[in-house]
Amino acid sequence: MVAVPEAPPGVPESQVQGRNPWYLAWLRLRRNKVALGCGLLFVLIVAVCLAAPLWADYVAHTGPNDNHITDTVLIDGVETDIVAPDGTPLGPGLRGRYLLGADQNGRDVMVRLLYGGRTSIYIGLAAAAVTTVLAVVVALLAGYYRGWIDAVLSRVLDVIWAFPVLLLGIALGTALAIGGLKLGVIAIAGDSIWIPILIIGLVYVPYMARPLRGEILALREKEFVEAAVAQGMGPLRIMVGELLPNIVSTIIVFFTLNIANNMLLESALSFLGAGVRPPNASWGTMIADGYQMIYTAPHLTIVPGLMIVVTVLSLNVFGDGLRDALDPKARIRIEANDAGRH
């Protein structure tokens, strides 16, 4: 599986050194400046969100869920209500405290934005991990064993696939909100962040498992698998040692793009009250809290909305770049098809 570049004219093949495919992928990715820039932007957003406690402790001097409805803040030497007697919250301004203004409960929007980002990104990553693990296991089992195991697993995926993702997410989120999840020794409280993680992780499994299963089915017919069987390798060793390494690049691309999808679904679920539980902040809950005041305090909705757009866009562009870098043949194939269409 090591790629061997063709020898340049005049250079004997024996003198050409093989290069690691990951290194080649990195070279290709490095040439895609837009994708690389978006990747860096995502890393920057993650870093800033991770620094939320620093901002809360040293700049804003308040936590993400601390209410300050009747408190005041000094602005231009004037004691100003954080929430006016008619309920209107303080707007954004160039200052440390309440840089992005306050919400209706007098909470610092900047602090909630940073903490909300941590929550949204954490859910995006963790749910992507859940999806990936489940999808890979299903794909390996279904693709390797085929037969009735494949039939059963594929039908289960079909059932999940048959539900609209958002509807399934809302149904599960609402059902688990009050009583939480109890499965044998596993018990998760209704307000736990793991509820949206598991819901989002589960609903996207078919979207990753089906293409992976297709790849495994194709690889299962290759000679190296037959050779492994002939050498007496067991099914587990073949699946983990032979098949899995051949789909790693696909998994990485899916994983990256899945994070963006997860963040969008988390926002939608939280907005609809079936995701992150109040008073905890996520970008979705912040939009849900703020949209009622879109006329008088639009910053409450616009700021988290912008953050979702920027983060998801950066992940999608980076994911596309990563796919092109890891699987250049796919790009060629797509380009060829496109060319044929014109």
Binding site: I69, G87, D191, R277, T296
Partner: protein, 549 residues
């Protein structure tokens, strides 16, 4: 499918009949409407809890049901205090009460029909009261005073012996176990509205509501999203029988649609897409609506109390010091700002305007130091608290404020926000786990202080389902006082003062943490006749007063 076909038939019959009624015209103009017809659209943030007169026990529910199900007595369709007067409805006159105050005699008006053409019978009243108990209605506690009611509720009797009726003559006799100063009021509630005996005795009828005896009838119900009310084609039989105090409909059809976005409701009314919103204008739109639409907007008085309930049966709220600490810590001004300035601060059970109200404050504050000291003294072993509230915007913010307050006081608080449509049935169900504390409010059912004490604080009101005594308060001395006072008339000497004392007795035990009395709003589309519409003190907007210009 069955429901759809039935609804379709009813809708067709109703349309034809309504056309006939409209063609005949109506000369009624006492209170309410009786106007020129037309269709209007109404928005609600939370759908009514039940479309069932024996089960519904929310403001939204009663606002809708008041003009569909008519009891033997009712409340005058009028603005202000006049609207709190009990008047005859399906009964010919106010009850004839025996000198000992235990026997009530009424006579049903003759020849009245429900909207499906079924005759209204005296025994339908008995059936309605029986349904209250068989469905575990939150309102059943009021009617325990009827002789034989508790035996019937316990399954020891097949009928309520204290009610005798004669369908031929329309005579209804009700025997009470003891005099009850509120019983006229109770006969005017939807709980006691007669319904046909074909209605399931022990099941919620929301998806197939019983036929109407009021000016409107339900033609479709798609809970919790939408319902339609149309003119009752048989209502003329009620009017012909002499029920002049029951107002006629001013429009032909009302479509109620749930819309969780109150701000969008405001915009829709501004743009005349929606004609009325049942909930108040949200705080952020209030100033704009007040200034730009003053010709179709007004603030409305309402008799209510907003409070946090605290489950006195569970730690840590089984310690009075913890409950007192909460009362010290809550800042009514903070909550007033969440309501956009529509909240009058309070710290007592009875609201202004209710007999027995005397303003006082036992826990001056907000005083976090005092609150912390009390909690330190109590030193509760269990500091895990689940805070409940619903998803209506103001209430969600109240829950978030309260959650933060409890966290500041050193508790490990968890906030549960659930849909407004199912909030009361969830927290009022004893099998729901971890109902420790949370949002609650109460709007007067009738203008008597017993309406605030009995359903919310009497030990008998701790019910397995649909309970309203969310604090599970059961103070024997106060229960006895309540039972004693209810046998007297509110006008008797010293009774109001004793109710004021009862209020203080409950707050000394800090069974609630009350914080405000809310003002409501009326905001109508340009199509509507603003001057005709009015806000009833008991049932909020009177839907019969809606009329198009």
């Amino acid at each position: 499918m069955h429901i759809f076909r039935r609804a379709l038939i009813i809708a067709c019959v109703a349309s034809l009949a309504a056309f006939g009624v409209a063609a005949c015209g109506s000369d009624d103009s006492s209170g309410g409407g009786g106007g020129s017809g037309g269709d209007i659209t109404v928005n609600a943030t939370s759908f009514p809890d039940y479309i069932d007169p024996q089960l519904s026990y929310t403001v939204e529910g009663w606002e809708v049901l008041w003009n569909v199900y008519t009891p033997l007595l009712t409340y005058r369709h009028a603005r202000g205090k006049e609207g709190t007067e009990v008047v005859p409805a399906l009964a010919e006159a106010l009850p004839d009460i025996s000198p000992d105050g235990k026997t009530y005699k009424l006579k049903l008006r003759p020849n009245m029909k429900y909207s499906d053409g079924t005759p209204i019978k005296a025994s339908d009243f008995t059936y309605a009261i029986q349904r209250l108990f068989k469905t575990d209605s939150g309102g059943s506690v009021f009617y325990n005073v009827i002789a034989g009611a508790t035996e019937y509720a316990d399954g020891a009797a097949d009928t309520i012996t204290g009610i005798t009726t004669d369908d031929a003559t329309g005579d209804i006799t009700i025997q009470l176990t003891e005099p009850n100063g509120t019983f006229d009021n109770l006969l005017g509630l939807m709980f006691a509205a007669p319904i046909p005996q074909s209605t399931p005795l022990d099941a919620d009828a929301t998806n197939n509501p019983p036929p109407a005896s009021g000016p409107f009838m339900f033609t479709t119900v798609d809970a919790p999203r939408t319902l339609t009310m149309e003119r009752n084609p048989q209502f003329q039989t009620v009017k012909d029988a002499g029920a002049d105090e029951v107002a006629d409909a001013g429009v032909d059809k009302i479509t109620l649609i749930e819309n969780k976005n109150q701000s969008a409701q405001v915009t829709d009314i501004m743009q005349n897409k929606v004609d009325f919103m049942m909930d108040p204008v949200p705080s952020d739109r209030l100033q704009e609506v007040k200034s730009r639409y003053s010709d179709r907007f007004r603030m409305e008085d309402s008799i209510n109390t907003y409070y946090m309930f605290m489950n006195t049966e569970r730690a840590p709220f089984n310690d009075v010091r913890v409950r007192q600490a909460i009362n010290y810590a809550i800042d009514p001004e903070a909550l007033n700002r969440i309501f956009g300035g529509r909240l009058h601060p309070t710290q007592q059970v009875l609201p202004p305007g209710m007999p027995g109200y005397q303003e006082y404050k036992l826990y001056p504050g907000p005083d976090m130091d005092k609150a912390r000291a009390l909690i330190a003294e109590a030193n509760p072993a269990d500091r895990d608290i689940t805070v409940w509230t619903d998803d209506e915007p103001d209430r969600k913010r109240i829950g978030e404020y309260y959650h933060d307050l409890l966290t500041q006081l050193g508790f490990n608080a968890t906030l549960k926000v659930i849909a407004g449509d199912v909030y009361w049935t969830t927290v009022g169900n004893q099998s729901t786990p971890d109902v420790d504390t949370g949002f609650a409010d109460w709007f007067q059912d009738f203008p008597h202080p017993d309406d605030f004490f009995r359903p919310l604080l009497h030990g008998d009101s701790i019910l397995p389902t649909n309970g309203n005594n969310l604090s599970r308060a059961n103070i024997a001395e106060n229960n006895a006082k309540m039972d004693e006072l209810v046998t007297k008339q509110i006008t008797d000497e010293g009774v109001e003062q004793q109710y004021a004392d009862l209020d203080r007795a409950y707050m000394e035990q800090a069974v609630w943490a009350p914080y405000g009395n809310e003002q409501f709003t009326t905001f109508l589309s340009e199509r509507m006749d603003f001057d005709k519409s009015y806000h009833h003190l008991l049932f909020k907007q009177d839907f019969t007063s809606f009329a198009l210009k």
